[in-house]
Structures are given as structure tokens and as C-alpha cells.
């Protein structure tokens, strides 16, 4: 990998690049699915290639290729430089990069059981047991369970002298049980919705999920939802479980604190941000209960690594401190606009994409409450679990989320199951009503595997540490 990168950097330099970096990536993915006891699939995906990013005449160019012979690498490096020259025709100010220390080193995701060493029989046995347990609940229409494992070997080198080798290992799994009636489709998922929960970890993460042990429960819950009452409507107290709190953080804090959105780099696609730099240190984003960090060192998080994809070391950045907005996730280029240093949040989906500012692990720091205490001290409200629907505007202010499961709370007790819950609000007004966050014992790192951004589109996996939390005077309705 080192030879490949050095060759690409040499060609880039001789083609006029003032700066160049190169990422060589080899990736293996193994996916297993069992659905309805009669469909089973085992698949593997191997991928390798190289991406070369250059600055020529003060402008960016990037080219990627999946062939690693010297002719292909040379052509890709020259193409990147040609593209940069085309970019320079519409570039008023040359690209400036915030200084970053030259980095030489290696990083390996800590794993207890290498998921690629675990037999396929063991994995498939787990899925079959989970699928059968869901099937055993009368009335379930469809049910499926799946596992996915990723190993990504990356080598980064830059013309500044950085040389970094990293091996990232991910393990993910999940299951869904769906029940239908004449006018309802109700799905319950475990541990999280949208396919699976995933961590930078070994097979021990799968074992800790206990898929088979939770299968009957979620299938039973899906059936119960068919005949559950619609979620009550009104301005209510709202308690979110950790998974929904994680998505709330992702959409309403993670994305608006990406500094490229503030510059307008994503305006045509992902959108901009209501959090402008003049608000740093003086804008009340949330209540004093709310502290949110971007931490690429969180153990197990899908945004955990040694260095980002432009060679900046993993770090922890405070985004919101006791409710006060105080920082961004940034790159070397965006940080230079403000005289800052990069927060180390540049990530690329793979070798064929440029790095963009992406969430690392954006964490709602734990508080001092507990779920049971929150419920016990709520006069009338709802406790909502597991995302079903999510939508937010392009500045990240106006949101509406729906969840799979809900409980109405009256006088400190869960009184009935409710379905089709929706809640809506505006980001800062919502977070300012947060009066409780559960403590460290209920705080978990969740994996979001489907975060999209950029053109061409890049889907990246990010982490969110979160715990149950409570909000007041939230607009709650039921989908109908």
C-alpha cells in the first residue's frame, strides 16, 4: 500500500500538485440475512482502490481508480491534476489548509473476537434461532434477522509526509418483526430500526445484543401495536429512549455543526445550518442538561479511528456545553477560514470518494437521572421508542419524528401502549425544554449506518452515545 501511495504522490507532484494526498483502501464486507424462515442469503463483497486528492493552481481535484498498476495510478494522478486545473478556472481564492502535524502511525480497532474468524455456521445459527422465535408468535406477517461485518484496511499518505495505516473492524446485527391488519402495518425492530445496530467492535458486540433472546418480545410487541390506541395528541411531556435520542442528536445537532454546511458547500444538496459562527459562545442551543460532543475516541463508536481521512488525529470536540453552542466539526480547509485547527472529522465512504466533514461519534453526554425516575415524575406524557420516521428541514430547525412504539404516562406510570406516534418541533426550542438525561448506567453508544451526504452521494457510518432523556411541552400527534 505504501508503494502505491508513494507512486501516486510522485506523479501528482510531477504533474504540478502543490499538495497531494492518497488513500489506498481494501474493504471486505460479509452480510447474512434470514427472512421468514424460507429465505437465506450469505454474501461477501471485496473492494479495493485508490483515491488521489490534489491542489493545483489553488484548486481541488480528485480522481479514483480500482486498478493499482502503475499505469492506472499514474493516469488517475494526472487526471486529478487536470480536474484541479479545470476547477481553478472558477476559484477566486486559493484553497488554504489549516496546519496539521505530520502524522506517522497505525491504528487497529480493538476486537475480542474477530468477526471474520467466527464461522458462518455460528452466525447463521444465531439468525435462524432469532427468525424462528419471531415466527413462533401468531399473527406475524414477515420477520427477518441480519448480520453484517466490515473490515477496512486504509493507508493514507500526503505530500507533507504523513503516512498512516489503519484497520477498522465493524460488527452489526438486527431484526424486524412486522404485523399487518386491514389498515395498519406495525414493525418492531431490535436493537434499533433501519436494519441493524453496528459498532466498531468484534463479534462480542453481536453476542451482547442477544438477538434470539429478544426476538419473541419484539414480535409480540408488533402484534400488540395493531390494536393499540393511537398516540395521544397535544402539548405533552416527552421521554425518548436512547435510540431515538441518538437520532434526535444526529439530525438536530450533528448535521448543523458540520462546518462545511455553514460555508454553503452542501447548500445545493444536504443544506446549510442555522448555527452560524457568530453564535459561538452566546447562543443557547439547549438547557443546562444538554452537553453534546463530537468524539472520535469513543470506544466502540462507528466514528472511532486513529486519524481522519486527511491525516488529522482523532479528538473530542465540545459542540454544546451545558446548553451553550460552542463549536463545530471541521476540516483543514474549513477551519482555516476561521483561523482554527481541524477537529479531525474528514471522512470518505471509501477510496472512490473525497473526504467530507462527517459526524464522528456525536454524543449526548450522560446526565444524572434515570428512565424510571423520569417516568415516575411525569404527570402526563409519552415515552417513545425506536425510530420509524424522520424528517428535518435543510437548515436543521423544523423536525418531525415518528417512533415504532409508545407508552402513555399518567401520574408517574405507564398506563397504555400507543401507536403511530409523531412529535415535532424546532431544534433550539426543543432542546431548551430538556430537563433530564439519564446517567452513565443507561448511556450506550448507538451506530447509525445510513448517514447520507455529498455529491456523489456518500453513505457513512457514525456513532452516537445517548441515554433516555425528557422534554416538556412538545407537540405530539398520531399519524392517521
Amino acid at each position: 500500500m505504501k508503494d502505491i501511495a508513494e507512486l501516486a504522490l510522485d506523479v501528482a507532484a510531477s504533474s504540478g500538485a502543490a499538495y497531494a494526498d492518497c488513500r489506498v483502501v481494501q474493504r471486505g464486507i460479509q452480510a447474512l440475512t434470514v427472512k421468514d424462515g424460507r429465505f437465506a442469503e450469505v454474501s461477501s463483497f471485496e473492494d479495493e482502490g485508490v483515491g488521489i486528492r490534489v491542489i493545483v493552481d489553488g484548486a481541488w481535484g480528485f480522481a479514483s481508480v480500482d486498478r493499482l498498476d502503475s499505469d492506472s495510478l499514474g493516469e488517475a494522478a494526472r487526471t486529478a491534476c487536470r480536474i484541479a486545473r479545470a476547477s481553478a478556472r472558477l476559484r477566486r481564492q486559493p484553497v488554504r489548509l489549516a496546519p496539521a502535524p505530520v502524522a506517522v502511525g497505525a491504528y487497529l480497532t480493538p476486537v475480542e473476537r474477530d468477526p471474520f474468524e467466527v464461522s458462518l455456521e455460528e452466525k447463521m445459527d444465531l439468525l435462524v434461532r432469532a427468525d424462528e422465535a419471531m415466527a413462533g408468535v401468531e399473527g406475524i406477517t414477515t420477520h427477518q434477522a441480519s448480520l453484517e461485518f466490515v473490515r477496512e484496511h486504509r493507508f493514507f499518505a500526503s505530500s507533507e509526509g504523513s503516512q498512516i495505516e489503519q484497520v477498522i473492524v465493524e460488527s452489526g446485527g438486527g431484526m424486524d418483526a412486522t404485523a399487518t391488519s386491514a389498515d395498519e402495518v406495525q414493525t418492531r425492530s431490535f436493537p434499533n430500526s433501519f436494519g441493524r445496530h453496528q459498532l466498531c467492535a468484534g463479534y462480542e458486540a453481536i453476542e451482547a445484543m442477544d438477538l434470539a433472546g429478544n426476538a419473541e418480545r419484539i414480535a409480540t410487541e408488533a402484534i400488540a401495536l395493531l390494536s393499540a390506541a393511537p398516540c395521544p395528541t397535544g402539548s405533552l411531556t416527552l421521554i425518548l429512549d436512547g435510540t431515538q435520542a441518538a437520532l434526535q442528536v444526529h439530525e438536530s445537532c450533528g448535521h448543523p455543526t458540520e462546518l462545511d454546511r455553514v460555508r454553503g458547500d452542501e447548500a445545493a444538496y444536504a443544506g446549510t445550518s442555522f448555527l452560524t459562527p457568530d453564535l459561538i459562545g452566546r447562543f443557547r442551543y439547549g438547557s443546562e442538561q444538554v452537553t453534546i460532543t463530537a468524539d472520535a475516541t469513543t470506544p466502540g463508536g462507528l466514528g472511532t479511528y486513529g486519524w481522519d481521512d486527511e491525516g488529522v488525529a482523532a479528538q473530542r470536540t465540545v459542540l454544546v456545553d451545558q446548553g451553550l453552542f460552542c463549536g463545530y466539526m471541521s476540516s483543514r480547509e474549513t477551519a482555516a477560514d476561521y483561523g482554527w485547527s481541524s477537529s479531525g472529522a474528514m471522512r470518505a465512504e471509501s477510496w472512490n470518494r473525497i473526504p467530507l466533514i462527517r459526524m464522528t461519534n456525536v454524543n449526548l453526554e450522560p446526565g444524572e437521572s434515570s428512565l424510571e425516575e423520569m417516568i415516575a415524575t411525569t404527570a402526563h406524557g409519552v415515552f417513545l421508542e425506536t425510530n420509524r420516521s424522520w424528517s428535518i428541514d435543510d437548515r436543521r430547525l423544523n423536525f418531525q419524528f415518528g417512533t415504532q412504539n409508545g407508552w402513555e404516562i399518567r401520574d408517574g406510570k405507564r398506563v397504555r401502549l400507543v401507536k403511530n406516534a409523531l412529535y415535532a418541533g424546532r431544534t433550539p426550542e426543543f432542546w431548551r425544554t430538556c430537563d433530564a438525561v439519564a446517567g452513565p448506567s443507561e448511556w450506550r453508544v448507538w451506530g447509525t449506518v445510513n448517514c447520507g451526504k455529498g455529491q456523489p452521494s456518500q453513505v457513512i457510518r457514525v456513532g452516537h452515545g445517548a441515554a433516555p432523556c425528557r422534554f416538556h411541552d412538545v407537540t405530539v400527534t398520531a399519524a392517521s
Binding site: F39, G264, D265, S391, D393, Q400
Partner: protein, 442 residues
């Protein structure tokens, strides 16, 4: 360097089938080249190119199926591909395995292809940005967007004799304009770069942005709307995903009730992979010829889209809408065509009385699948229609609305249609629509 001709990719697929040396094998080879130039604040800020080739092998036998896919020029690719697929197959528990399709009589055309797009350069893309940025600078506005060109060569072969190949291209230009207090939007998609017309696109974004300054708040509620084709594409794409697939029907999660009239007689929607304006492509990911399917005919629910698996369950032929098999997603609509009406856009607006004109939706998500309820925001130009004319801009609104109910309330359909591509590169040929009632919730 140009891509490998698709017919040569077919020879590569054949060589892997030979390596497998038995029945129950399917190989897909896809070579792809793409260039994309992004601009922000009237400058190019990201500019990329990608070239790759993927091999995918599906192996079946003994009621087991295994899949292996390799992207990249790895050492002994055929050997590694076959070994990985066979290892996966042997360890998969026995289950329902849909047989491979047999060859059909379909031809390997038409496919949306343009030599000019295939040969497009970064300099040409920069020229388009220069045109767009120049018009925005002259108007005192900032332009943001992307110019994208791609060429894809596809070959699919299986051990029952299916042998398909096709070459396709796509070009797109997307732009939003920013003024002091509002935005505008336009996009263009075509197989040929000559169909993008950067100047007309820039004129449209500038005009929309100029109108969309100083927006005021409007109370949420139910309003008549005229939706631009950009907004209609979002509705139709979600409608197809929620209900047009035979798998959704078989799993009792589709809103479709065949034979029942659920929508206005003005609404007809088909999936038509041979329509010359809908980025045509001749076959699906199993190499089955894609047939035209009428899903909604004058408001009446008609037929579903099938792949081999859903077709087998119902004892009908596949309609050629498979994604790479096997999968749990089911058949997918790739070429949605909404029938044109008879009204100009001005006539739709004039017929609306008092309502809203929506340029574009954003972040649309499902809320209640069986009732086809979705939510999302308006974006980049929402205007009050008063006295039958587009008037003052209003701030973006959230809607929560059943698509089926909205299409039941259609009172006018535009006669002009535009081609839209969604994130999955699904083509949608759509007109503007006038709808009596549309629910804005915040």
C-alpha cells in the same frame, strides 16, 4: 481511457461462468465512469472522477444460494469470486431459492446513451459552471450545485443462456440560487450533455430566487396547491416504493387495491423502461427484459411490478424489475412515467384560485405506509397563489399528507413533463399537478 465495450464485458462474464463449470450461476459485470463538478458561492469547490468495475456472482444449488461481489482489479479475480460465492452457498441453510430466469425474446435496446456524454471532460463541466455562475453573478446572486456525467456498461449472463449487455449514459445539472433572503432551484437531467442547457437552467433559478425574497409566514393548514414537476417527482417516487412492488402486496403493506379507483381519473402512472424520455434501459439485474407495467390507470389500481421471486409465488412471468437477487427489498420501479394532461402551468395556477405553488420538496419520509402518508418540507421557493397568479413568497412549510389522497384530489395535470432522477438514479417523467387539498402541518 474509454470503458471496455459492454460486449467484451459479456465475454468476461462468460469466462467466469466457464470457471464455475456447472448450472445455477449468474454473473453481472458493471463498468462505470463518472465525473462530478460541484460549485458553491459561484466557485468550483469539489471536482471528482471515478472509474470502477464490479463483478457479481450468484451461485445456487441444493436449495442454497451464495453471492460474492468484487470491485477492483484483485489478483485472480475469477478464482476468488467463485471460491467466495461457493463458500457462501455451501454454508447457507437450505431455503427458498428462486430459479434463474431463462432467456427471453427481448432485445438489448433501447438504452439511454450518448457518445458526447461518454466523452465528457472536466473542462466541459467547468464551462457549464462558468455559464451558470456568470448569470448568477450578473443577477447579484450566488449559485450552488453540481454537474454530473456518467457512463455505465453492463453485462449479465447466466448458466441457462441469458446473455444481455447494454451501454448507458446520464448527465445532470442541479442548481440552487441564493439571494439576500431566499433561494431558487432548478435541475436538468438527460442522457445527452447537450440536453442540459445551462443557460435556461440558470435563468430559471435566478427567476425563482428573485421572486422568493422576503418570504413571510403562512399559517399551516389545508391549501390547494400547484406542484412543480420537481415536487411531483418526490410524491411519485415514494408512492412507487410504498405500493407498486408485488412484494409489498404479498406482504400486505401496499396501499394498492387492484381494480379499485383510489385516485383521480386524471392520474395514470406506469413504469415504462422503453419510453425514450425516461432514460430507457432494456433489462433488469437478472437479465430479464423490462416490460411496461400500468400501475395506475385513470385513477384505478392495476398491476404490480415483479421480479423472478415474486412472480414465482403468483405463477406469473417476471416484469423485469429485479434488483440484484436475492434480496429482501423486492421489485423496484426505475422508469416511472406519469401521463401528461392538457393544461399549461399558467392554466393550472389560474385554475387554483387561492393556494400555494411549491417548487420543491425536501427530506420526504414515510409516516404511515399502508395509507401512503409522508412528511417533508417545502424548499427553495414556496409562493402564495392569489387570484390565479403566483404572488408573494411564504416561508417553508412542513406537510404531512397521504399521497393517495392527494392524487385523488388532482384537478389538473400539466401538459409539459420533465425528467427527474432521484438519489437512486430512478428516472421519473412527470408533469406539474394541481391538487385541491394538501395538508401543511407546521
Amino acid at each position: 481511457m474509454s470503458l471496455t465495450p459492454a460486449v467484451h464485458l459479456l465475454a468476461l462474464a462468460d469466462s467466469i461462468l466457464e470457471r464455475v463449470g456447472r448450472d445455477g450461476a449468474e454473473v453481472a459485470v458493471v463498468e462505470h465512469e463518472e465525473g462530478l463538478t460541484r460549485f458553491a458561492r459561484n466557485q468550483i469547490h469539489q471536482n471528482v472522477a471515478e472509474r470502477s468495475r464490479r463483478f457479481r456472482l450468484r451461485l445456487m444449488g441444493d436449495e442454497q444460494v451464495g453471492v460474492a461481489e468484487i470491485r477492483g482489479d484483485v489478483e485472480d479475480l475469477p478464482g476468488r469470486l467463485v471460491a467466495a460465492a461457493e463458500a457462501a452457498r455451501q454454508l447457507a441453510p437450505p431455503g427458498e431459492v428462486t430459479p434463474l430466469p431463462r432467456p427471453d425474446a427481448g432485445s438489448d435496446g433501447p438504452a439511454a446513451h450518448s457518445p458526447a456524454t461518454a466523452a465528457c471532460t472536466p473542462e466541459w463541466r467547468a464551462d457549464q459552471v462558468l455559464t451558470v455562475a456568470g448569470l448568477h453573478v450578473a443577477a447579484g446572486l450566488e449559485a450552488f450545485g453540481a454537474v454530473q456525467t456518467s457512463v455505465t456498461h453492463t453485462a449479465i449472463a447466466n448458466s441457462l443462456g441469458v446473455r444481455r449487455h447494454a451501454e448507458s449514459t446520464a448527465a445532470g445539472l442541479v442548481c440552487v440560487a441564493r439571494g439576500q433572503s431566499g433561494w431558487g432551484y432548478a435541475d436538468r437531467h438527460h442522457r445527452d450533455i447537450g440536453g442540459l442547457d445551462a443557460r435556461s437552467l440558470a435563468e430559471e433559478t435566478v427567476e425563482t430566487c428573485r421572486r422568493n425574497q422576503g418570504a413571510t409566514t403562512l399559517e399551516p393548514g389545508i391549501y390547494p396547491v400547484v406542484l412543480s414537476p420537481y415536487a411531483v417527482a418526490d410524491l411519485v417516487g415514494h408512492l412507487a416504493d410504498l405500493g407498486f412492488s408485488a412484494l409489498a402486496h404479498q406482504e400486505h403493506r401496499s396501499f394498492m387495491r387492484p381494480g379499485e379507483k383510489l385516485m383521480s381519473s386524471l392520474v395514470s402512472i406506469a413504469d415504462d423502461a422503453s419510453h425514450p424520455e425516461a432514460m430507457p434501459f432494456p433489462f433488469d439485474d437478472e437479465g430479464v427484459s423490462t416490460r411496461g407495467v400500468s400501475c395506475i390507470e385513470e385513477g384505478v389500481c392495476r398491476s404490480f411490478l415483479h421480479d423472478s421471486a415474486t412472480a414465482l409465488r403468483e405463477g406469473v412471468p417476471s416484469t423485469g424489475h429485479a434488483l440484484p437477487m436475492p434480496n429482501t427489498f423486492g421489485p423496484w420501479a426505475r422508469h416511472l412515467v406519469v401521463s401528461a394532461g392538457e393544461s399549461s402551468l399558467d392554466e393550472l395556477i389560474a385554475g387554483c384560485g387561492r393556494g400555494l405553488y411549491v417548487t420543491r420538496f425536501w427530506y420526504v419520509r414515510d409516516v404511515h405506509p399502508l395509507r401512503a402518508v409522508i412528511t417533508g418540507m417545502t424548499r427553495d421557493g414556496t409562493f402564495l397563489i392569489e387570484d390565479g397568479r403566483v404572488g408573494r413568497p411564504v416561508r417553508d412549510l412542513r406537510f404531512t399528507q397521504s399521497i393517495v389522497d392527494a392524487l385523488a384530489d388532482v384537478q389538473g395535470v400539466g401538459r409539459e413533463r420533465s425528467i427527474e432522477l432521484d438519489e437512486g438514479e430512478r428516472a421519473m417523467l412527470v408533469p406539474a399537478l394541481s391538487i385541491r387539498r394538501f395538508a401543511f402541518t407546521s
